[in-house]
Protein backbone atom coordinates (compact mmCIF):
# COMPACT_ATOMS: atom_id res chain seq x y z
CA UNK A 1 0.00 0.00 0.00
CA UNK A 2 2.69 2.49 1.00
CA UNK A 3 4.44 1.59 -2.24
CA UNK A 4 1.48 2.83 -4.26
CA UNK A 5 1.22 5.99 -2.15
CA UNK A 6 4.87 6.64 -2.90
CA UNK A 7 4.69 5.96 -6.65
CA UNK A 8 1.50 8.01 -7.13
CA UNK A 9 3.01 10.91 -5.15
CA UNK A 10 6.13 10.73 -7.29
CA UNK A 11 4.12 10.68 -10.53
CA UNK A 12 1.89 13.59 -9.51
CA UNK A 13 4.90 15.61 -8.35
CA UNK A 14 6.66 15.14 -11.69
CA UNK A 15 3.51 16.05 -13.61
CA UNK A 16 2.89 19.12 -11.41
CA UNK A 17 6.46 20.34 -11.84
CA UNK A 18 6.34 19.88 -15.60
CA UNK A 19 2.93 21.46 -16.05
CA UNK A 20 3.42 24.44 -13.77
CA UNK A 21 6.98 25.24 -14.85
CA UNK A 22 7.39 27.45 -11.76
CA UNK A 23 10.17 25.96 -9.68
CA UNK A 24 11.39 28.99 -7.72
CA UNK A 25 8.65 30.48 -5.53
CA UNK A 26 8.28 28.67 -2.20
CA UNK A 27 4.62 29.66 -1.84
CA UNK A 28 3.69 28.16 -5.24
CA UNK A 29 5.78 25.03 -4.64
CA UNK A 30 4.09 24.45 -1.30
CA UNK A 31 0.65 24.91 -2.85
CA UNK A 32 1.67 22.35 -5.47
CA UNK A 33 2.82 19.93 -2.78
CA UNK A 34 -0.49 20.47 -0.97
CA UNK A 35 -2.51 19.71 -4.12
CA UNK A 36 -0.47 16.54 -4.72
CA UNK A 37 -1.10 15.38 -1.15
CA UNK A 38 -4.84 16.13 -1.32
CA UNK A 39 -5.08 14.22 -4.59
CA UNK A 40 -3.28 11.19 -3.15
CA UNK A 41 -5.54 11.33 -0.09
CA UNK A 42 -8.67 11.50 -2.31
CA UNK A 43 -7.47 8.60 -4.48
CA UNK A 44 -6.92 6.59 -1.29
CA UNK A 45 -10.37 7.49 0.03
CA UNK A 46 -11.94 6.34 -3.25
CA UNK A 47 -10.16 2.98 -2.88
CA UNK A 48 -8.43 3.51 -6.21
CA UNK A 49 -4.90 3.12 -4.88
CA UNK A 50 -3.32 0.09 -6.44
CA UNK A 51 -1.46 -1.21 -9.42
CA UNK A 52 -3.57 0.87 -11.79
CA UNK A 53 -3.27 4.18 -9.95
CA UNK A 54 -0.02 4.96 -11.75
CA UNK A 55 1.41 3.90 -15.09
CA UNK A 56 5.08 3.30 -14.24
CA UNK A 57 4.75 -0.47 -14.44
CA UNK A 58 3.49 -0.17 -18.02
CA UNK A 59 6.49 1.77 -19.23
CA UNK A 60 8.94 -1.06 -20.10
CA UNK A 61 6.26 -2.96 -22.04
CA UNK A 62 5.15 0.21 -23.80
CA UNK A 63 8.69 1.19 -24.74
CA UNK A 64 9.07 -2.20 -26.39
CA UNK A 65 5.82 -1.93 -28.33
CA UNK A 66 5.63 1.75 -29.34
CA UNK A 67 8.62 1.91 -31.72
CA UNK A 68 7.19 -0.93 -33.78
CA UNK A 69 3.71 0.61 -33.74
CA UNK A 70 5.18 3.97 -34.76
CA UNK A 71 6.82 2.31 -37.77
CA UNK A 72 3.52 0.74 -38.75
CA UNK A 73 1.76 4.11 -38.42
CA UNK A 74 4.30 5.73 -40.75
CA UNK A 75 3.97 2.95 -43.36
CA UNK A 76 0.16 3.01 -43.20
CA UNK A 77 0.12 6.81 -43.51
CA UNK A 78 2.23 6.73 -46.66
CA UNK A 79 0.05 4.00 -48.13
CA UNK A 80 -3.22 5.86 -47.48
CA UNK A 81 -1.70 9.13 -48.75
CA UNK A 82 -0.76 7.37 -52.00
CA UNK A 83 -4.29 6.03 -52.36
CA UNK A 84 -5.79 9.46 -51.76
CA UNK A 85 -3.83 10.72 -54.78
CA UNK A 86 -4.89 7.78 -56.94
CA UNK A 87 -8.53 8.26 -55.95
CA UNK A 88 -11.36 5.85 -55.13
CA UNK A 89 -10.29 3.47 -57.91
CA UNK A 90 -7.28 2.45 -55.79
CA UNK A 91 -9.25 1.32 -52.74
CA UNK A 92 -11.19 -1.87 -52.22
CA UNK A 93 -12.97 -1.55 -48.87
CA UNK A 94 -14.19 -4.51 -46.88
CA UNK A 95 -15.20 -5.53 -43.38
CA UNK A 96 -13.18 -8.36 -41.87
CA UNK A 97 -12.65 -10.13 -38.55
CA UNK A 98 -9.51 -11.10 -36.74
CA UNK A 99 -9.33 -13.58 -33.86
CA UNK A 100 -7.62 -12.02 -30.86
CA UNK A 101 -4.93 -13.80 -28.87
CA UNK A 102 -5.13 -11.47 -25.85
CA UNK A 103 -6.83 -12.63 -22.68
CA UNK A 104 -7.41 -9.36 -20.81
CA UNK A 105 -9.41 -6.22 -21.49
CA UNK A 106 -6.23 -4.17 -21.50
CA UNK A 107 -4.65 -6.49 -24.08
CA UNK A 108 -7.68 -6.36 -26.36
CA UNK A 109 -7.89 -2.58 -25.99
CA UNK A 110 -4.24 -2.27 -27.03
CA UNK A 111 -4.92 -4.45 -30.07
CA UNK A 112 -8.12 -2.61 -31.03
CA UNK A 113 -6.53 0.82 -30.60
CA UNK A 114 -3.50 -0.23 -32.62
CA UNK A 115 -5.79 -1.30 -35.47
CA UNK A 116 -7.53 2.08 -35.38
CA UNK A 117 -4.27 4.04 -35.01
CA UNK A 118 -2.87 2.66 -38.25
CA UNK A 119 -4.70 4.51 -41.03
CA UNK A 120 -6.45 2.18 -43.45
CA UNK A 121 -8.13 0.13 -40.75
CA UNK A 122 -10.60 1.05 -38.03
CA UNK A 123 -11.98 -1.20 -35.29
CA UNK A 124 -15.75 -1.56 -35.48
CA UNK A 125 -16.52 -4.06 -32.75
CA UNK A 126 -14.58 -5.83 -30.01
CA UNK A 127 -15.85 -9.09 -28.50
CA UNK A 128 -14.22 -11.65 -26.22
CA UNK A 129 -12.67 -13.63 -29.08
CA UNK A 130 -12.50 -11.40 -32.10
CA UNK A 131 -12.27 -7.88 -33.45
CA UNK A 132 -14.38 -6.75 -36.39
CA UNK A 133 -12.73 -4.03 -38.41
CA UNK A 134 -13.15 -2.02 -41.59
CA UNK A 135 -10.21 -2.10 -43.97
CA UNK A 136 -9.58 0.21 -46.90
CA UNK A 137 -7.77 -2.43 -48.96
CA UNK A 138 -7.23 -6.17 -49.26
CA UNK A 139 -3.55 -5.57 -48.39
CA UNK A 140 -4.53 -4.11 -45.03
CA UNK A 141 -6.48 -7.30 -44.26
CA UNK A 142 -3.51 -9.46 -45.30
CA UNK A 143 -1.26 -7.41 -43.04
CA UNK A 144 -3.45 -8.09 -40.02
CA UNK A 145 -3.86 -11.74 -40.99
CA UNK A 146 -0.11 -12.26 -40.64
CA UNK A 147 -0.80 -11.83 -36.92
CA UNK A 148 2.22 -9.70 -36.15
CA UNK A 149 0.20 -6.99 -34.42
CA UNK A 150 -1.71 -9.72 -32.57
CA UNK A 151 1.52 -11.33 -31.34
CA UNK A 152 3.15 -8.06 -30.38
CA UNK A 153 0.16 -6.79 -28.41
CA UNK A 154 -0.03 -10.23 -26.76
CA UNK A 155 3.56 -9.78 -25.66
CA UNK A 156 2.69 -6.28 -24.39
CA UNK A 157 -0.07 -7.87 -22.33
CA UNK A 158 2.27 -10.57 -21.00
CA UNK A 159 4.90 -7.96 -20.11
CA UNK A 160 2.29 -6.24 -17.96
CA UNK A 161 1.51 -9.21 -15.75
Amino acid sequence: MSRYVFSLTLLLTIVWLLFSGMWTYVIILSLGAASVLVTVWLVGRMNLLGRDSEAFHMLPAALRYWPWLMGQIVLANLDVARRIFRGPASIDPRIARVRTLQQTHVGRTIMANSITLTPGTVTLKVTEQEIEYYALTAEAVEDLETGEMNRRSLRFEEDLS
Binding site: L17, L18, F19, S20, G21, M70, I73, V74, A76, N77, V80, A81, I84, F85, G87, P88, A89, I91, D92, P93, R94, I95, A112, N113, T116, L117, T118, P119, G120, T121, V122, T123, L124, K125, Y134, L136
Partner: protein
Amino acid sequence: MIGVVLDILSWSLLMSGSALLVIGGIGLIRMPDFYSRIQAAGLTDTLCSILILLGLTLQADSIPLAAKLLFTLAFLLFTGPTAAHALAKAARHDGLEPWRRAPGGASSKR
Protein backbone atom coordinates in the same frame (compact mmCIF):
# COMPACT_ATOMS: atom_id res chain seq x y z
CA MET B 1 25.23 26.10 -35.02
CA ILE B 2 23.14 23.64 -33.07
CA GLY B 3 20.27 26.13 -33.32
CA VAL B 4 20.40 26.05 -37.11
CA VAL B 5 20.36 22.25 -37.16
CA LEU B 6 17.40 22.19 -34.75
CA ASP B 7 15.59 24.77 -36.87
CA ILE B 8 16.08 22.79 -40.07
CA LEU B 9 14.95 19.57 -38.35
CA SER B 10 11.97 21.21 -36.71
CA TRP B 11 10.85 22.96 -39.88
CA SER B 12 11.10 19.82 -41.98
CA LEU B 13 8.94 18.05 -39.39
CA LEU B 14 6.44 20.93 -39.41
CA MET B 15 6.30 21.12 -43.21
CA SER B 16 5.88 17.39 -43.76
CA GLY B 17 3.21 17.34 -41.04
CA SER B 18 1.38 20.18 -42.77
CA ALA B 19 1.67 18.40 -46.11
CA LEU B 20 0.03 15.33 -44.56
CA LEU B 21 -2.71 17.56 -43.12
CA VAL B 22 -3.49 18.89 -46.61
CA ILE B 23 -3.42 15.37 -48.10
CA GLY B 24 -5.77 14.20 -45.35
CA GLY B 25 -8.10 17.09 -46.18
CA ILE B 26 -8.05 16.20 -49.88
CA GLY B 27 -8.79 12.60 -48.95
CA LEU B 28 -11.71 13.70 -46.80
CA ILE B 29 -13.31 15.18 -49.93
CA ARG B 30 -12.12 12.58 -52.41
CA MET B 31 -12.93 9.33 -50.64
CA PRO B 32 -16.29 7.84 -51.58
CA ASP B 33 -18.03 7.17 -48.27
CA PHE B 34 -18.08 7.71 -44.52
CA TYR B 35 -15.78 4.83 -43.56
CA SER B 36 -13.09 5.61 -46.12
CA ARG B 37 -13.21 9.28 -45.10
CA ILE B 38 -12.43 8.24 -41.53
CA GLN B 39 -9.24 6.64 -42.90
CA ALA B 40 -8.29 9.88 -44.64
CA ALA B 41 -8.94 11.75 -41.39
CA GLY B 42 -6.72 9.14 -39.74
CA LEU B 43 -3.76 10.73 -41.52
CA THR B 44 -4.32 14.01 -39.70
CA ASP B 45 -4.98 12.11 -36.46
CA THR B 46 -1.74 10.17 -36.43
CA LEU B 47 1.43 10.96 -38.35
CA CYS B 48 0.40 14.56 -39.03
CA SER B 49 -0.06 15.43 -35.36
CA ILE B 50 3.06 13.44 -34.43
CA LEU B 51 5.20 15.39 -36.90
CA ILE B 52 3.75 18.81 -36.08
CA LEU B 53 3.96 18.35 -32.30
CA LEU B 54 7.51 16.97 -32.49
CA GLY B 55 8.46 19.92 -34.69
CA LEU B 56 6.98 22.32 -32.15
CA THR B 57 8.74 20.47 -29.31
CA LEU B 58 12.08 21.18 -30.99
CA GLN B 59 11.12 24.87 -31.06
CA ALA B 60 10.27 24.90 -27.34
CA ASP B 61 12.72 26.92 -25.26
CA SER B 62 12.01 25.30 -21.89
CA ILE B 63 11.57 21.76 -20.56
CA PRO B 64 8.05 22.37 -19.17
CA LEU B 65 6.88 23.68 -22.54
CA ALA B 66 8.36 20.68 -24.37
CA ALA B 67 6.79 18.34 -21.80
CA LYS B 68 3.36 19.91 -22.31
CA LEU B 69 3.63 19.44 -26.08
CA LEU B 70 4.64 15.79 -25.63
CA PHE B 71 1.76 15.23 -23.18
CA THR B 72 -0.59 16.77 -25.75
CA LEU B 73 0.72 14.30 -28.32
CA ALA B 74 0.22 11.38 -25.91
CA PHE B 75 -3.36 12.45 -25.16
CA LEU B 76 -4.10 12.83 -28.87
CA LEU B 77 -2.75 9.37 -29.60
CA PHE B 78 -4.91 7.85 -26.85
CA THR B 79 -8.13 9.74 -27.58
CA GLY B 80 -7.91 9.83 -31.40
CA PRO B 81 -8.50 6.12 -31.99
CA THR B 82 -11.25 6.10 -29.36
CA ALA B 83 -13.12 8.86 -31.20
CA ALA B 84 -12.59 7.23 -34.62
CA HIS B 85 -13.79 3.90 -33.24
CA ALA B 86 -16.86 5.51 -31.64
CA LEU B 87 -17.82 7.13 -34.96
CA ALA B 88 -17.29 3.98 -37.01
CA LYS B 89 -19.07 1.79 -34.47
CA ALA B 90 -22.06 4.15 -34.37
CA ALA B 91 -22.27 4.15 -38.18
CA ARG B 92 -22.04 0.35 -38.27
CA HIS B 93 -24.64 0.03 -35.50
CA ASP B 94 -26.93 2.26 -37.54
CA GLY B 95 -26.59 -0.15 -40.46
CA LEU B 96 -24.50 2.01 -42.78
CA GLU B 97 -22.94 -0.27 -45.39
CA PRO B 98 -19.47 0.58 -46.66
CA TRP B 99 -18.97 1.65 -50.27
CA ARG B 100 -17.69 -1.26 -52.30
CA ARG B 101 -16.03 -1.55 -55.64
CA ALA B 102 -18.40 -2.64 -58.39
CA PRO B 103 -17.60 -6.19 -59.61
CA GLY B 104 -16.40 -4.87 -62.97
CA GLY B 105 -13.68 -2.87 -61.25
CA ALA B 106 -15.19 0.52 -62.05
CA SER B 107 -16.72 2.39 -59.14
CA SER B 108 -20.50 2.49 -58.98
CA LYS B 109 -20.61 6.06 -57.73
CA ARG B 110 -18.13 8.77 -57.20
